[in-house]
């Protein structure tokens, strides 16, 4: 019992640390990547001076995130006169908390057997083993969608409660947009569920370590390439980022549903957005990019296509899986930032038409083809 508690607390600490770190670092990545993409240098003036010396650590502007956080803490928490106090106060948390909760079902590593890590642990842990994720839920994917759908409540609460026309418009846009794209996300993932026969994210990740057609790793992106593209598009739309940032389009709605928020409450909205980039990347990694495994890798080692088995020690496997997961998430986050700094914003009618007349039929067609193929293969 005690062992489970300790291990789970370690997992929770790891997950929270990773998410907050990603939330902070991605602000920096976004700034720097946007700058480098447009032949600029990017923010590089904030520094930390080592006390009692003149040594200034600039570290390529890495401390700008810290400076931003400090600024948001120290700013006045300005509230409009006619706001709804309760809804206004909880709205940022309603946006922020589900984003963190989604990560609880995403596996960030394979099976951890503490006894194999160090001999000293074996007497206490015995032969217990733990999948490296916070909550091993059978309905993992459903939990993801349940919590993912909650953030929209926060956005609408923020828009309604701040008694501002721009906020209200932003909230309405957020509502219709997120409902449309949530549907497409669900439809694209249905194909995967049909193929893998489960909604358990750990099982989905494990099933992707096989071999496809003799040489390809059995990743979801090779099984369902169409669904992968649609899922990523819909997920970026879920996150309300350019080119789908109409709920907060600054040239039309000032800042959309969080116009009336200032200081750290506004910071929470921004932070939730950046953490959601990492969450989307983690989800995409788990569903389509083989999760925490390198190609052909299982919890025992590598099972290469030729039938060769390369066993690895357990410690190496655990470290490799954690690192691979983080690298994949970082690459996918970087790709989302690339999309954000490449494409222009949709018009509102284009956005909904794109959802209902372009992506929705494609997702349905993809689902139908998958159903037929799965049915034909299973006989």
């Amino acid at each position: 019992m005690m062992q489970d508690l300790v291990v789970n607390l370690v997992f929770i600490g790891y997950a929270v640390a990773v998410l907050l770190l990603f939330g902070t670092v991605l602000t920096w990545v976004e700034r720097k990547q946007a700058a480098i993409m447009s032949d600029r240098i990017g923010a590089n003036r904030a520094y930390v001076r080592i006390p009692f010396t003149q040594i200034k650590l600039v570290w390529w502007g890495l401390f700008h995130g810290l400076a931003d956080g400090l600024k948001m803490m120290l700013k006045e928490d300005f509230r409009p006169n006619a706001h709804d106090r309760f809804a206004y106060a909880i709205a940022p948390w309603v946006v922020f908390t589900p984003v963190l909760l989604v990560f609880s079902v995403i596996p960030f590593g394979g099976l951890l057997v503490p006894a194999k890590l160090a001999p000293a642990l074996s007497s206490w842990f015995g032969d217990r083993s733990y999948p490296m994720q916070i909550a091993r839920v059978d309905a993992g994917l459903l939990v993801v969608f349940a919590f993912g759908g909650l953030t929209i409540v926060g956005a609408m609460l923020a828009g309604w409660s701040s008694s501002n026309k721009f906020s209200l418009l932003g909230a309405l846009r957020a509502g219709s947009q997120m409902i449309s794209y949530e549907l497409i996300m669900g439809l694209t993932v249905l194909g995967l569920i049909l193929i893998y026969g489960t909604v358990d994210l750990t099982l989905i990740a494990q099933k992707q370590s096989g071999v496809l057609l003799g040489f390809l790793p059995a990743w979801g992106i090779f099984l369902q390439p169409f669904a992968a593209i649609l899922f990523l598009t819909a997920a970026i739309a879920e996150n309300k980022r350019i080119p789908f940032d109409l709920p907060e389009a600054e040239s039309e709605l000032i800042a959309g549903y969080f116009t009336e928020y200032s200081a750290m409450k506004m910071g929470l909205f921004m932070f939730a957005e950046f953490i959601e980039i990492a969450i989307i990347a983690a989800l995409f990694t788990t569903l389509f990019l083989g999760g925490y495994n390198l190609p052909f890798m299982t919890d025992e080692g590598f099972a290469l296509p030729g039938g060769r088995l390369v066993p690895l020690p357990h410690t190496a496997v655990v470290v490799l899986q954690l690192a691979v997961f983080l690298v994949k998430v970082l690459i996918m986050s970087s790709f989302q930032i690339l999309v954000r700094w490449t494409l222009p914003r949709f018009r509102w009618d284009q956005l909904l038409r794109f959802a209902w007349k372009f992506m929705f039929p494609l997702a349905l067609a993809n689902l139908i083809v998958t159903v037929v193929v799965v049915w034909a293969l299973q006989g």
């Binding site: 990547q33 480098i36 032949d39 600029r40 240098i41 494409l343």
Partner: protein, 191 residues
């Protein structure tokens, strides 16, 4: 009153898209490839310790593309012994439209050819309009303008003055009009 129904304005060159462009996804991928390519190119330059940006760090670096004839800052030319060519005649200060030049003349009994010299020669760059009239007015070719700009970013106007020691730092390797560099202290008289 009958109003005409609204008709959208038609332009003579209607934008046309081929079916390939209307398929949307290929063009999106092309755009991502362009921006991603720029990113990778610049990133490659950064990780190989070169500069992957067009930016010039402002106070630390000087931009490389100043024209040769750019009037960036003033310099005072020097005699072979290193003293200023200026005879403190105040012509530049008189002609200056912005009245930024301040000269305090002094007497040098050891140099009968040029008994007057500037004890103080200061230019206020917060007001200078860089017109170059001082260079035109100088009878001795003592003041010129060079393409470099003075390193003067500052929080107040008091720190935007250049004085004699900074104006006398011009050390070209050769010059059409004068024997440069100055040949060190020569006693007794000038040219």
């Amino acid at each position: 009153m009958q109003t005409k129904p609204y008709r959208r304005k038609q332009y003579w060159n209607r934008p046309t898209m081929s079916w390939w462009e209307r398929a949307y996804l290929p063009e999106i991928v092309r755009g991502l490839a362009i921006t991603g390519g720029v990113f990778l190119k610049n990133m490659g330059r950064w990780v190989t310790l070169r500069k992957g940006a067009l930016t010039t760090y402002y106070p630390e670096e000087m931009r490389a593309d100043y024209a040769r004839r750019n009037r960036g800052k003033h310099v005072l030319t020097q005699r072979p012994d290193g003293r200023p060519q200026c005879i403190a005649c105040n012509m530049c200060a008189t002609v200056c439209p912005a009245k930024v030049i301040e000269i305090e003349a002094a007497f040098d009994p050891d140099d009968p050819a040029h008994p007057k010299y500037p004890a103080r020669f200061e230019i206020d760059y917060s007001r200078c309009v860089f017109c170059g009239l001082c260079v035109e007015a100088c009878p001795e070719d003592a003041i010129r303008m060079v393409k470099e700009v003075p390193d003067l970013p500052s929080h107040d106007r008091q720190h935007m003055w250049l004085s004699l020691d900074e104006l006398l730092t011009w050390q070209p390797q050769r010059d059409v009009a004068k024997p440069y560099p100055p040949k060190g202290p020569v006693s007794g008289g000038g040219s």
